[in-house]
């Protein structure tokens, strides 16, 4: 039987590894190119043309869509979305880091269980988890009933349909995405490194700030990018938990495609999000490259 090249680890002459690598990667990268890169380039093209009165594309070249994205209304929505996504990311980081730290430094037996428990809620449907918060936060919901039952409040608190509810929903939905990379980064810390720092007499807090924090930066970056970019593009949470009173850029894109039928403008907004995402990925790659240079990332 002959061995066809292209099959998995095989020693063939003439730079075998590179060829092998190419053959392994051709399929999946081709798929990603066809169903991700091409569609994204396509909306890049759409964003440079005019819309027709009833939707569709008029093939007249224009920068109008990007100019419009910069007008105060839409720019304001973008800023607001960045703010909400940033807030959700910061809270997820503050909540997730100590939790990931505890999991990563627990006895091995516990580690697995704690990690599974942290990720498990993410396995139930996202929409249902948002729905749970509607039941909890509404004026006649669980929390307000509890507070009134205890006699702490007489009037129901407005917990739902505001930015508070949106941020809460985002943190809840994406916390596992923060905990996982943080856990990976923290458990990767070498024992010798830590011991070296204690030997030098560094106390807990200082060794955390000087050594652990910088070394787990790639994990922080990965988790934060996930939470930030997902939050930025989210349109369901503002819709369900925000009661439609807060518009985020995800809603705007959704509306352009399904309500306003202004595909070119929606495409321009989507392209801006792609730009933000690429910027953040570049930043992350920079952090990882630096970590690789100093040998703390494999």
């Amino acid at each position: 039987m002959t061995v066809r090249a292209g099959t998995i680890p095989v020693a063939a002459p003439a730079d075998p590894r590179a060829r092998e690598r190419l053959l392994l990667l051709a399929g999946p990268l081709g798929w990603i190119a066809l169903f991700l890169v091409v569609p994204c380039l396509l909306i890049g093209i759409y964003s440079l043309f005019e819309r027709g009165t009833y939707g569709g594309i008029e093939w007249n070249f224009t920068f109008e869509n990007f100019r419009r994205a910069a007008d105060p209304l839409y720019f304001g929505i973008l800023i607001k979305s960045l703010w909400i996504a940033g807030l959700a990311t910061a809270i997820a980081l503050l909540v997730g880091y100590p939790a990931a730290f505890l999991i990563a430094t627990s006895p091995e037996r516990w580690q697995k269980l704690l990690l599974v428990l942290a990720v498990l809620p993410f396995w139930t449907n996202y929409l249902i988890r948002s729905y749970a918060w509607i039941v909890i936060l509404n004026r006649e919901g669980a929390i307000n009933n509890l507070l009134r039952g205890l006699g702490l409040t007489s009037e129901p608190l407005p917990l739902l349909y505001n930015e508070f509810a949106i941020v809460l929903g985002l943190v809840y939905a994406y916390l596992p995405f923060m905990i996982l990379p943080l856990y990976a980064a923290i458990s990767r810390l070498g024992a010798d490194l830590i011991e070296a720092s204690t030997d030098l007499g560094a106390d807990g807090w200082r060794s955390f700030r000087r050594i652990i924090l910088p070394l787990t930066l790639p994990g922080i970056a990965a988790g934060s990018i996930f939470v930030f970019v997902y939050s930025l593009g989210n349109f369901i949470t503002p819709d369900l938990l925000g009661g439609g009173r807060t518009v985020m850029v995800g809603n705007l894109i959704y509306d352009q495609f399904l309500t306003a039928r202004d595909w070119p403008f929606g495409a321009a907004l989507a392209f801006i999000l792609i730009g933000i995402m690429m910027g953040l990925l570049t930043l992350q790659a920079f952090l990882i490259n630096r970590a690789r240079r100093i040998g703390t990332y494999d």
């Binding site: 061995v3 392994l24 798929w31 396509l42 006895p107 942290a118 449907n125 990976a184 593009g233 894109i253």
Partner: protein, 268 residues
């Protein structure tokens, strides 16, 4: 020594604080789900009053053909997405872990994971529209496979990293060909990772609403489970949702435990 070296650094106070914090985090994560589970047995279906224990909402769930139909659609889609994504993701992982690490390539492979779903969804909708595709369940499979594949690759890669490559070379030295080496050596070694990847793929596919929604064709024949749930949630507090949530949690716990057992058994 059971403690992680880092743990020894922390004073007992810090440790206690960390534990308390983690307890609150888990309460935050599970509280809402637990509440839905309790409510699913509440005959009144309302969070405000307890109408007695009942299986009423589970019965209504089983009598709802739209929900059952959408679950069947989701399972079919998830099955094929899992196949494509696990196979593609494994190849991707093997390819990426071979040779010098490339940060650029790593970042590129992160794009499908990180791209906001609404952006990918509308890009794919534009793509299919331009090609004049008639949408259906198959287009959901094509669309979901892109981002699911990247997640699957990430899972397999973690496994590959902890895997001693010298046994591959030994296998080749002993005269085994590529296929043999892959089936007999590589695959068994990374199997727990592949199983975990398949499981994650399945879950991601079942959970995905946005990309499926924009890639789906007309009618009930391409309505998936999350699309059905979205329609129900938009129509307000529907107690059947509580029953769905409870069943989902049970299913995912079972799946997770099975996966862990399989992974342990597959360990060479």
């Amino acid at each position: 020594m059971t403690d992680h070296p880092v743990a020894r650094l922390q004073s007992r106070g810090t440790r206690r604080w960390l534990k308390g914090h983690a307890a609150l985090v888990y309460l935050f994560l599970y509280g809402p789900i637990a509440m839905l589970a309790v409510l699913s047995f509440n005959d009144s279906g309302l969070p405000t009053s307890w109408g007695g224990f009942s299986f009423r909402w589970y019965g209504e769930l089983l009598r709802n053909p739209a929900i059952l139909h959408s679950v069947a659609n989701s399972l079919v889609v998830a099955f094929f997405v899992t196949l494509i994504a696990t196979a593609g993701g494994t190849l991707l992982a093997l390819g990426l872990e071979q040779g010098r690490p490339s940060t650029a390539l790593d970042s590129f492979v992160m794009v499908p994971m990180i791209i906001p779903d609404i952006v990918l969804a509308i890009a794919l909708l534009s793509f299919y529209t331009t090609l004049q595709f008639t949408l259906g369940l198959y287009s959901i499979v094509l669309s979901q496979s892109v981002f699911v594949m990247a997640f699957a690759a990430a899972v397999v890669r973690t496994r590959l990293r902890n895997f001693d490559r010298s046994i591959l070379e030994a296998s080749v030295d002993l005269g085994a060909d590529g296929w043999t080496t892959f089936w007999r050596v590589t695959l068994p070694a990374i199997l727990p990772g592949v199983i975990a990847a398949a499981l994650l793929s399945f879950t991601l596919s079942i959970d995905d609403f946005v990309i499926a929604y924009f890639s789906a064709g007309a009618g009930r024949s391409s309505t998936t489970f999350p699309m059905q749930i979205y329609a129900m949630i938009r129509f307000g507090v529907t107690p059947t949702i509580n029953a769905i949530a409870t069943i989902l949690v049970l299913v995912s716990v079972t799946l997770m435990l099975t996966a862990q057992r399989l992974a342990r058994e597959a360990q060479p």
